[in-house]
């Protein structure tokens, strides 16, 4: 034994290379963590770029809109300097005249008008027609512009322009919640006949809840049957659940269109059985009923599979024990069997509900007017009305609801326990 070896304190354990064991362990753990993280990193970057950033951008667009402010620099400067609300004096109209001319040259006058049109219907043409005549305007501008159209003297129009002169706005969220600014600038709810979005959100929630309930009602007996039958039968019957699960969504929606049409198979059967007359064919499609029937069918496998995997783990002897202790079959089912299926019910109902509130394709094809969900209106604003900020605000509200449910699902079920097929 050399002296050097004795110098090391006896109670400190060391690794092979002489570093204290605690330090070596910490280093090894850190390296293992880094290695694990390095494996996940490429995917994480990919998902952040193709998923998180686009959604973040959408969130930003819901509060940021520069359609007005980017093209009307003089008015923006005027509003920043002058705090008085309502119709301004000559100075404000001069700025307006300058901007109208500028924006006509840039061909952005339509965009400017569209932005104001979101809040006061019918004002787009006010801007475009004023833009066409802007180069011929002479001072005093106030009189000249008012001579073009009396609406330029509307204080509400000026209040809206003042709010639009800042690119950051909450007005799209207000619109998405059926709220608006009144003349004094306070937030009030929109007139009853113009409330569209809140009733639609309520309808989306109600229909999704109804569909989840129907799926539970239909899924429970089937899952129970599959879980209690001998394996050779249940494997065969499982095909009935898995085949729809693997079949294209559009194929399933098409099938329902074929079945539910007024000249379709279901109505033909009803007529030939004499249940309804030739003239009394039931309208089952292009309305709420179409959406409910088709979506219940499409989402049913998402209810049956989690229920099945929970029911499979429930030992049948508990039920039998309850029976042998004198319980009636109903009591044994309700007090002994059913409580054990609750985790499966929670998982299935939440999953179906989450998937249902964001559904787009099926309601768009079979829903008609009364069977539309909130997603369909988002698509409408993205593709038809081109009010992208409002679409983004509606999408953000929907996203907030979905994230809340997703968090709940994770707490109750755990995303790790999600099973496929």
């Amino acid at each position: 034994m050399t002296d050097a070896a004795i110098e090391i304190p006896r109670y400190q354990l060391t690794a092979a290379d002489g570093t204290p064991l605690k330090l070596a362990m910490a280093r090894a753990t850190r390296r293992a963590r880094l290695r694990a993280f390095a494996l996940v990193l490429p995917l994480l970057v990919f998902v952040v770029v193709t998923f998180a950033v686009p959604i973040g951008q959408m969130l930003y667009r819901s509060v940021h809109n520069d359609q007005f402010s980017a093209h009307m620099p003089n008015l923006v400067a005027f509003f920043a300097a002058d705090e008085t609300k309502g119709v301004p004096g000559e100075e404000g109209f001069a700025a307006l005249a300058k901007d109208l001319d500028l924006s006509r040259e840039e061909r952005s006058i339509g965009e400017v008008g569209t932005r104001i049109n979101y809040e006061i219907a019918g004002t787009r043409s006010l801007f475009t027609s004023a833009g066409r005549k802007a180069s011929k305007l002479e001072p005093p501008y106030k009189e000249a512009i008012l001579a073009l159209d009396k609406q330029w003297g509307d204080p509400e129009l000026w209040n809206v322009m003042r709010r639009a002169s800042s690119p950051h706005t909450l007005s799209f969220y207000l619109a998405a919640l059926d709220l608006q600014y009144d003349k004094s600038g306070a937030i009030v709810s929109a007139p009853e006949d113009r409330r569209i979005y809140v009733p639609l959100f309520i309808r989306t929630l109600w229909l999704s809840g109804l569909i989840a309930g129907l799926c539970l009602l239909l899924g429970f007996p089937v899952a129970h049957l599959l879980a209690t039958l001998p394996l050779r039968y249940s494997n065969l019957l499982m095909i009935f659940v898995l085949l729809p699960f693997w079949t294209s969504l559009l194929v399933r929606t098409t099938s329902w269109m074929v079945l539910l049409q007024s000249q379709g198979v279901v109505n033909d059967i009803l007529v030939s059985l004499g249940i309804v007359g030739e003239s009394g064919r039931i309208q089952m499609m292009y309305n709420e009923a179409g959406t409910i029937i088709a979506m219940t069918h499409i989402l049913l496998p998402f209810m049956i599979l989690p229920l099945y995997s929970v029911m499979k783990t429930i030992p049948p002897r508990y039920y039998r024990a309850a029976l042998s202790l004198g319980a009636t079959p109903w009591t044994a089912f309700w007090k002994v069997y059913f409580p054990q299926t609750v985790p499966g019910i929670g998982a299935g109902v939440l999953l179906v509900f989450i998937l249902a509130i964001g559904y787009y394709i099926t309601p768009a094809l079979v829903g008609g007017a009364s069977g539309q969900l909130i997603s369909n209106l988002i698509a409408f604003h993205m593709q038809k009305s081109l009010n992208w900020s409002l679409a983004a605000a509606l999408a953000t509200l929907l996203l907030a609801g979905v994230i809340l449910l997703y968090w709940l699902y994770d707490r109750l079920v755990g995303i790790d326990n999600m099973k496929l097929g």
């Binding site: 996940v40 269109m257 074929v258 983004a392 996203l399 994770d410």
Partner: protein, 306 residues
């Protein structure tokens, strides 16, 4: 019948309930499967109707025809009436709308699946290590494309792609579809890794194998069933996806579901049913593959035989 088997002491009421219960279950199973099977006979309809004609019901051969399958090939062709020789088939391959849509779907689906599977499998390996930091949060983010409504993803991608120049490109669609397929790969591969015996990798390392060799010779063969079924899920997701395509694809970038969507919205013809029938047969094949893989995986991991 053995499914009807009840203990001999069962009361008549219990027997009656058992029968009722089986009838209810049969009705629900019929509700599940009938809409998918109904399109198959209807696609052979000789008339442009979506219901069974009198001739079809009496099994008169005149009531059936292949005309809608023929239409899949001829729709969009330059010269559909030409004699059916090699140049006719070339015309089909190059011009027929449905064939073109199928080609696009396969190109996009295969590329998106490859991307999702490679990235997803690597990440699943990291996520199932015990020392993975922020596991729950990262897992939550990576699974979320499956949960977030497609319309929201599509809206976000529309804004993002139109600014970055990825709109109307194949790359953009492939990246979006890969993102949508990744959750499925992660779920299936992490599920396979749950039963994975890590002493095998340690043994391989101990015998001197470098990490890539361990991965390809030890880990991959064992988790392959999970990887393949994840890949199949990712492929189906892409193959069936229409919302993102509607938002970010160019006009000439038709895919099968988009072509179906157009067909249903514009003038629905029984050609759609013929396409649907082909897709149903396709999904039967996929289902069979996944089922075989699942059984193989359970055997490999020593679980009870399915």
């Amino acid at each position: 019948m053995s499914v009807l088997k009840l203990p001999p002491y069962a009361s008549p009421l219990e027997k009656a309930w058992r029968v009722t219960y089986l009838v209810i279950c049969a009705a629900i199973l019929l509700f599940l499967i009938a809409p998918i099977l109904i399109v198959i006979p209807l696609s052979f309809n000789a008339e442009p109707y979506f219901t069974f004609t009198r001739k079809m019901l009496s099994f008169d051969p005149a009531g059936y025809s292949m005309r809608w399958y023929d239409q899949i090939l001829t729709f969009g062709m330059a010269a559909p009436g030409a004699p059916r020789n090699a140049s006719w088939w070339l015309d089909v391959w190059e011009n027929a709308k449905w064939v073109e849509a199928a080609q696009n779907s396969v190109i996009i689906g295969v590329s998106a699946t490859l991307l999702a599977t490679v990235l997803g499998t690597t990440a699943a390996l990291g996520l199932s290590r015990p020392d993975m930091p922020f596991r729950r949060a990262i897992m939550g983010l990576l699974i979320s494309p499956m949960i977030v409504p497609l319309i929201i993803t599509a809206t976000g991608l529309f804004f993002f792609y139109s600014e970055t120049g990825l709109a109307h490109t194949y790359l953009g669609i492939i990246m979006a579809h890969a993102t949508l397929g990744i959750p499925f790969v992660i779920i299936t591969v992490t599920a396979t890794l749950v039963g994975f015996d890590h002493s095998l990798t340690r043994a391989a390392a101990n015998l001197g194998a470098p990490p890539p060799l361990i991965f390809f010779k030890v880990i991959l063969p064992l988790i392959l069933p999970g990887v393949i079924s994840g890949a199949l899920f990712a492929f189906v997701t892409s193959f069936d996806e229409v919302v993102v395509v509607l938002f970010v694809a160019g006009y000439d970038q038709q895919t099968l579901p988009r072509q179906m969507w157009n067909g249903i919205r514009e003038q629905i013809s029984p050609t759609i049913l013929a396409v649907a029938t082909i897709l149903v047969i396709f999904s039967v094949a996929l289902l069979a593959t996944v089922e075989l893989l699942r059984r193989r995986s359970e055997r490999l991991r020593g679980l009870s035989p399915g």
